[in-house]
């Protein structure tokens, strides 16, 4: 059983995997959709513009609910992150390897989250307030808090990676077992593959994909909002 991502092109240790190709394709799809939807904007939305407005409305409401209405400037990044992860996980439905099963993708996104958390914390709290925030109950807790802050991108990326990879591994094992079983009974016709994997397909490819994209985005939002200085009443 082969698990690693397929290498498309490259020399030695530097190569382009299918993950990179599919992330680029997803990015292009998102950009083309955005361009098409906003090309001829009208007062009363029609066609693609209506869908785009619905998505934007949904994202802004969501960010306003979770982060508070004073942090709406994060909504474009959060929306892009959510849609990118959603599409990247859901391509597993078309028997393409989900882009998050390569640890590089979730770790890169988690690094962006990490940088955003600390950049915004320093920006809104100033350096003194930031150090005070890190040594919250008292200054003895500073090393422990630093450690938990540093391990946050690891756990965030491993959560997404492990969940999606676990689904891929289980589906592969199930397909292998069903193929062997049907080879024993009917020869070369894989008759058991028809409907038996359907519930597992639904769980791992649809439910888990949407849930993990949601959780990743939600935790990103919650931690950024938590690190920033609360709004003065």
């Amino acid at each position: 059983m082969e698990l690693g991502t397929k290498k498309i092109i490259g020399i030695g240790n530097f190569y382009i995997t299918e993950t990179v190709i599919w992330s680029l394709i997803i990015s292009v799809i998102m950009i083309v959709f955005a361009l098409l939807a906003t090309r001829k904007m009208q007062k009363v939305p029609k066609g693609l513009q209506a869908y785009a407005e619905w998505i934007v409305d949904f994202i802004y409401n969501w960010v306003g609910q979770v982060m508070g209405s004073d942090k709406l400037k994060f909504a474009p990044y959060i929306g892009t992150l959510f849609i990118f992860l959603l599409l990247g996980n859901l391509i597993g439905l078309f028997d393409i390897r989900p882009i998050t099963t390569n640890l590089n993708t979730p770790f890169a996104l988690a690094t962006i989250t990490f940088v955003m958390i600390h950049y915004n914390a320093v920006k809104t709290r100033r350096l003194g307030g930031y150090i005070k925030h890190l040594s919250e109950p008292n200054f003895l807790m500073l090393p422990i808090n630093l450690l938990s802050e540093l391990s946050f991108p690891l756990s965030l990326s491993f959560r997404l990676f492990g969940n999606i990879l676990g689904g891929v591994v289980i589906m592969k094992l199930l397909y292998m077992a069903l193929e062997k079983l049907s080879a024993l009974l009917t020869g070369s016709i894989p008759i058991f593959i028809i409907a038996i994997p359907l519930p597992l397909n639904f769980f791992f490819d649809i439910f888990e994909s949407v849930l993990q994209a949601y959780v990743f985005t939600m935790l990103t939002m919650a931690f950024i909002a938590n690190a920033m200085k609360p709004k003065e009443e």
């Binding site: 698990l3 491993f158 959560r159 492990g162 969940n163 676990g166 591994v169 849930l211 993990q212 959780v215």
Partner: protein
């Protein structure tokens, strides 16, 4: 009796280690079950808060699962990206 090569020995022990590593998933299972049980209690007490409770429950479950996923990743590394086989 055939001789066991060092590679085969390492691969066999790695497979056993991967199996042992997956014991750690017990904790995640207990955690997820506890989370959903408490959510059911909450919904039974306050059925109108179902949407909010479900939302928080899914996030809590995903966070709880992480500890189990660390065990899973260790097992996967031992099975498919074995770090010990290159040492000999």
């Amino acid at each position: 009796m055939a001789q066991i090569t060092p590679q085969a020995f390492i691969l066999g022990l790695s497979a056993i280690g991967a199996g042992l590593a997956m014991i750690g998933v017990i904790g995640a299972g207990i955690g997820v079950g506890f989370t959903s049980g408490k959510a059911v209690e909450g919904i039974a007490r306050q059925p109108e808060a179902q949407g909010d409770i479900m939302k928080i429950m899914f996030i809590g479950m995903a966070v709880t699962e992480t500890t189990g996923l660390f065990a899973f990743i260790v097992a996967i590394i031992l099975m498919y990206a074995n770090p010990f086989i290159n040492l000999i």
